[in-house]
Structure formats: structure tokens, C-alpha cells
Symmetry: C2
Subunit: 397 residues, 2 copies
């Protein structure tokens, strides 16, 4: 279909970029790190043309070969529009670039399975980026106990009252309770799916998802019609972790999807929290293990959650311009700790932990690393930032 035909058919509202990204979301199963990189290099329109032709590097070919004939972009966009959904792309103002940056950083550092999404199918009227500016993820077991569901609902309610949106995965059990608690307080809640927006999954949550879309958003990488699958839920978990300042695990068995989300959040440098429960409960074992192993901070209330993630909101959004900076080798936590240092005033690790939102034990581990990297120095008054050496960058960032 040429541009004239497309306009005649009433699809003029879709830009070339949007059509290209809809096509790319259809032809590659996420996460698709090579394709994401290729799109970043060539731009979505040119990248889509080259994928169609098969004129791509091997790694991109591997990710796209099986489905590159599927020319469903317009159909997908039309179907989305029919259910009140839209495709949000990095070209849009509402693209949550800052929350998703951690996926770029982690992928750049060689972490597997955490490539950013090429676009997000979104059902719900609000500005996606604005809704995610103060988001907390509340996740947990599907086979939750009454205790866990009550805690999740109360957390959702209290976080909403405090002005935070709540991200979860729309599953039965903890996820559903978190969404419902947030809705009960009139708050914004976002459900990230591991299937298409039209999959009607989970079946018992169709009306809940309708209410989530009214008050917040339902979102997914997967094009309309994509069926739910276990591997897609695990892939989806990276988005839940990335889109939130912190992730609270309310109940989790020893090996569980919620622990997977927690591990991903930790690897992305996000705050991980866990709610304790009775020691005899199998559904609290995963939470207790996370806390005991220092992979999560214990939270017993919404106040604890806000105290733990609260300081994150004060971290200035990072300049995302390119260039070789001395801090380029740092991971997200390292950057946060480095940001919290001052050039002249020494700070104690406790103060740095508070200001950066990075757990004290990690701060204590990272400071000597920053010292080795020549980025920090210990003085009698505490830890200070080292001004960047001449020629290594401008302004130390």
C-alpha cells in the first residue's frame, strides 16, 4: 500500500515511524537486543525497510527471520484503535524514556534479556510518562494467601493516597489485589501484560483490566492477538521492574516469578523491597529469603515503602547526551552514588545512601570501587567526588 492509498484509507494519522515500529514489534519476539540496537543506529523507518529486505547483520536476521514477512502494522494499529489503545514509541513525548534508560544501561553492560522495548501498546488515556514518574511496583504470588492479598491491597491504597501510581502484572492473587487497592483509593495503576491487549487474560480479570485502563493504563510489547505464555511473563517482568522506582514483593514462594522480577529489579539498580509474613507460611519464604540475603529491604507498611523509594524522586534526571565520560563504566547504582557525592563537602556513607536511595551496604561496597576508578576520594570529613581530569569530559559528568 502506497502513501496515497494509506491516506485514502484513513490511516494518515500514523506516521512512518509508528508504522515501522508496529511492524518491528510484530516481527521480533522481545527482548530483541540486536534489533533494538539496529533501530537506534538506523532509525525505525530505515531499519524496518532493511529488515523487510533481509539486508541486516546476522544477529538482527536471527531475531527477525521467522516473521519478517508479516506485514500487519496497519492491521495491528487499527485493531488497537478499535479497543481504545495506541502504540507509544520513543518518538512520542509520553515515551517513558527515563525509567526505561536502565534497560539500555544494563544491556550495554552485557546483561542478557533486558533489552528495551521497541514500542509499547497502551490502553488508557493518560500520559504514560507522567503516570510513571512516581511509580512503585507491587508484585507477588498468584496463589496468594488472604494475608498477602490484604497487605497488597492496603499497600496499593496507601501508595495511591500518597500520590504514587502502582505498577503490577494483572495476575490473580497479589497483582490483582494491588491493582484493586489502588483503584479503591482513586489512584492510577498500570498493568503490564505478557500477551496482547485483546487476549482477555487472565479471564477472571477482564473487568478489572477495563477499570485499570480507565484509571491508568494497560500496556504490553506484544501485538494484538499475541497469546499469553510463560516465557512472555518472565520477559514482561523486566518492564515492571524498569518502569518503577522500586519493586515490592508481597508474597513469593522460594522459586517464583515475583522473585524473578525482584532479581531483575536489583540487577537494574532499582530498589527491591519485600514484605515479611508468618514464618510458617510457604508464600512468605521467598520474601524472607530476599531480605535475609540482603537482596531486598524489609517493608512492613506503605510508610516504609515511601521512605525506601522516596529519595529516588529527588535524583535529577540524568543528561542523556552522548560522549565519553569518566562515569560511563558505572552501573545505575554506581551512578546514583556518584551523583550523591559533592565536590567539596565530605559525606558519610549513611548520608550518601539516604540521598542516592542505594542501600547502605551497596554504598559501602561501591565507594571503594569509585575510589579505585578515580571518581571518589575519602577525606577526614567523609567521601567526596573527584573532579574529572582535564580532557576526560566536561563538568565531571
Amino acid at each position: 500500500m502506497c502513501e496515497a492509498q494509506r491516506q485514502a484509507a484513513g490511516y494518515a494519522e500514523w506516521s512512518g515511524e509508528r508504522l515501522a515500529r508496529a511492524y518491528l514489534l510484530r516481527v521480533a519476539e522481545p527482548p530483541a537486543p540486536a534489533l533494538v540496537r539496529f533501530v537506534a543506529d538506523r532509525g525505525p523507518v530505515r531499519a524496518a525497510e532493511l529488515v523487510r529486505r533481509g539486508d541486516v547483520p546476522d544477529a538482527v536476521a536471527c531475531e527477525t527471520r521467522a516473521r519478517k514477512e508479516l506485514e500487519l502494522a496497519e492491521r495491528d494499529l487499527r485493531q488497537a484503535a478499535e479497543i481504545g489503545a495506541r502504540l507509544v514509541t520513543p518518538e512520542d513525548d509520553e515515551w517513558p524514556a527515563w525509567p526505561l534508560l536502565c534497560l539500555d544501561v544494563a544491556t550495554g553492560r552485557g546483561q542478557r534479556g533486558v533489552a528495551p522495548p521497541i514500542g509499547l501498546w497502551v490502553r488508557g488515556g493518560g500520559n504514560l510518562d507522567a503516570m510513571l514518574s512516581e511509580a512503585v511496583a507491587v508484585v507477588g504470588a498468584r496463589a496468594a494467601t488472604q494475608y498477602g492479598e490484604q497487605v497488597a491491597a492496603e499497600l496499593g491504597y496507601a501508595l495511591a493516597e500518597a500520590g504514587h501510581s502502582v505498577v503490577s502484572g494483572a495476575a490473580y492473587g497479589i497483582d490483582g489485589a494491588a491493582h484493586r487497592g489502588t483503584l479503591a483509593a482513586g489512584g492510577e495503576t498500570l498493568a503490564v501484560l505478557g500477551c496482547g491487549l485483546d487476549a482477555g487474560y487472565p479471564a477472571g480479570h477482564v473487568s478489572l483490566l477495563n477499570r485499570v485502563a480507565e484509571r491508568g493504563a494497560v500496556l504490553t510489547e506484544y501485538p494484538p492477538g499475541t497469546a499469553p505464555a510463560r516465557h512472555r511473563f518472565l520477559v514482561r517482568n523486566r518492564l515492571i521492574a524498569a518502569l518503577s522506582a522500586g519493586t515490592v514483593v508481597v508474597e513469593a514462594g522460594s522459586r517464583s516469578g515475583a522473585r524473578n522480577t525482584a532479581a531483575t529489579a536489583g540487577a537494574l539498580g532499582k530498589v527491591v523491597m519485600a514484605v515479611p509474613g508468618p514464618v510458617g507460611s510457604a508464600l512468605s519464604v521467598g520474601c524472607h529469603e530476599l531480605i535475609r540475603d540482603s537482596h531486598a529491604t524489609l517493608v512492613a507498611s506503605a510508610a516504609d515503602v515511601l521512605e525506601t523509594v522516596g529519595k529516588l524522586g529527588t535524583v535529577a534526571k540524568r543528561d542523556t547526551g552522548v560522549g565519553n565520560r569518566p562515569t560511563d563504566g558505572l552501573d545505575a547504582e554506581g551512578l546514583r552514588v556518584h551523583d550523591a557525592l559533592a565536590d567539596r563537602t565530605g559525606k558519610a556513607p549513611e548520608q550518601i545512601a539516604t540521598e542516592s536511595g542505594v542501600p547502605l551496604s551497596r554504598v559501602r561496597a561501591l565507594l571503594p570501587q569509585l575510589e579505585l576508578d578515580g571518581l571518589a576520594v575519602r577525606s577526614e570529613s567523609g567521601w567526596r567526588r573527584v573532579k574529572s581530569a582535564p580532557g576526560r569530559g566536561s563538568g565531571g559528568r
Copy 2:
């Protein structure tokens, strides 16, 4: 009464040291740091004579002035014997010198309220030091929930089965449940009181205390006839903390005696553990605060407790001879971390934490301090001990 009269009255079995310490335990309300120091300098017999005469430094006079006329040593020893009890002193082989050393160290560093006891009134047949060689304290709220009492009883049972004795405070609630659980497994349990052995307190636990004395020991600093009092329970808490390798708080309100014991144990360099519970329970608030503030390690089972304290048993007993050593300025945790370092092989902080039993976050804080003190060095393979400089001591210890 002269020695001849005393012998005629059948008290020949009491040595001058024992009579002197019985007198001193009667005349000073613990903790009595100046008196303890005075006794260490002069020996108990000479110290008692000088106290009687009032020929003592001001600080000792302040601690002993009000009661120094009370010549009740023989009566106290006789009354103790009548209820099957004895006075255990530092001159006895069964004196728990190693566990109590932390009180000396902390007092020497200027910590208040943790002076060692001058002697211990003990009811129970076993060797006191042997019973305390692998002891774990299990403490908590008097107004405990059914959940808390069940967890305490199960912990006591499982720790006893694993060969550990259980120390607690004989109070209603968690303490009593811990003693009972240990007894149910046929294990040794020790009750440390804040009153005389004959006080019959708490009234509902008289028969429980009889069973504790049969299978372990009931002990106190307070002479026969001393009434229970709130301040004595707080003073007693330092003994519970000192006599155990680690302290488990099962349930505790936000401000509670159990938290006092936990704080004391932490200040003494002992392992502090806390059991989580339902977040809605006021009796778990104190435990959650301890864990959240990194003052306690979360334990959800006896296996967790053993894993947390287990490595402590392998730390060699420290040479207590005198002399200026480079490590003299270190606190108990610093010494444990220093002990865990090797001269040639580098170790990761995680390994040092495991071997020393000191929490990882503390290890990470202490290693740079040891480095500043010239006692440790960071190499590519990890942290190593620095051999002591010539003339600073022999063998680096």
C-alpha cells in the same frame, strides 16, 4: 565472726574469695564498674576489706556506701545452699570467662551499664561454662501472640536438638515458650533472672524454673531475697546478651525490653537476629524495625539461626594475656573481622563475613577502618591481614 567460729559453724567449705564476692554482690547494685575494676586490681578478699573500711576511691565508695554494713555473705551462701544453689565466681573453673569477656571489652571502651558481674548465683547442677559454650538467646515480648509463642517453642526445640543450649529470661510469653520448647526436646536451657533465685518470680513460672534448674541452670547476680524490679531486668539483659553467641528476638513491640537486649547484644558485638511476622501485628513491629534498620538479621527457622551463629563456634578463643597489641584499639567486631583475615591469601568481604559471623554490611564498614589502622590491606585477590610492625607486638595478635 572469726575464721575459727566460721569453721565451727560448719562453713569451712566457703573460701575467703567466695565469701568476699558474696559480700560484694550484696553491697553493690549491679552493674558496678568501679567496684569490678577495684576487685580486679586488689583481688576480692582485699577489695572486700577495703570496702568494709570505706578505704576506697570515690567511684567505688559511691557504688558501695549505702550497703557496705550489710554482712550477709554467710547467710546468703547458706540460703543459696538450702535451695540447691551455689555462688559461681571468676575463681571457679566453671566461670564463663569467654562469654563474659565482651562485657570487659565494652566497659573498657567506655560503654556504660555493661560491667561484668562480680559473681553469679546459680541453681542447677551442670558446669556453667560448658552449658554456655554453644548458647543462643531466645527472647521476646511478655504479651506475646500465639504465633510468637509457637515460633519461640519451635526454635527452642530445634536449637536443643541441634545441640545448642537456649538462654532466656523466664518471663511470660516468648521467654517461657523458649524454655519450654528446649525442655521438650530434652535440651539444656538457662534462665537469667532480674531478682534473687528465691523470689518465686514470675509466680506462674515457679514450676517451670524448677524444671529449668533440673535440666540446665537458673542464674542471677542478685543475692537471695532481692525483689524483682524493672531496672534490674534491663541490667539483667546484658547478661543474656553476653552469655549467648547470638540473640534471637521472636516478638517485640516498638519499644520493649527485648529490643533493649537486642541493642545490648549488638553493642557487645554479638549476632542479633529477629523473627518476622504478619505486618499487621504490633508484636512484630520491633522485629521488623530491627531487620529494616540492619540491626538484626532475619531468621525464619532454626536452620537460619544456626547458619547465622554457627560460624561463631569456630572462632578460636582469644589469648587474654596482656600487652600492647596493634589490635588493642579494636572493638569485638573489629577483632572478629581481623581474626578472619589471612596473612597471605586475599579474601572477599563475603567470605570474611561468613568466617567472622559479623554481618556483611559491618564487614564492609570495618575493612576500610582496619586499612586506615594499618591492620589490613586490599589486594587484587581481596583483603589480607598486615603483619604487625616490628616492636608493635609478637605474632600480630
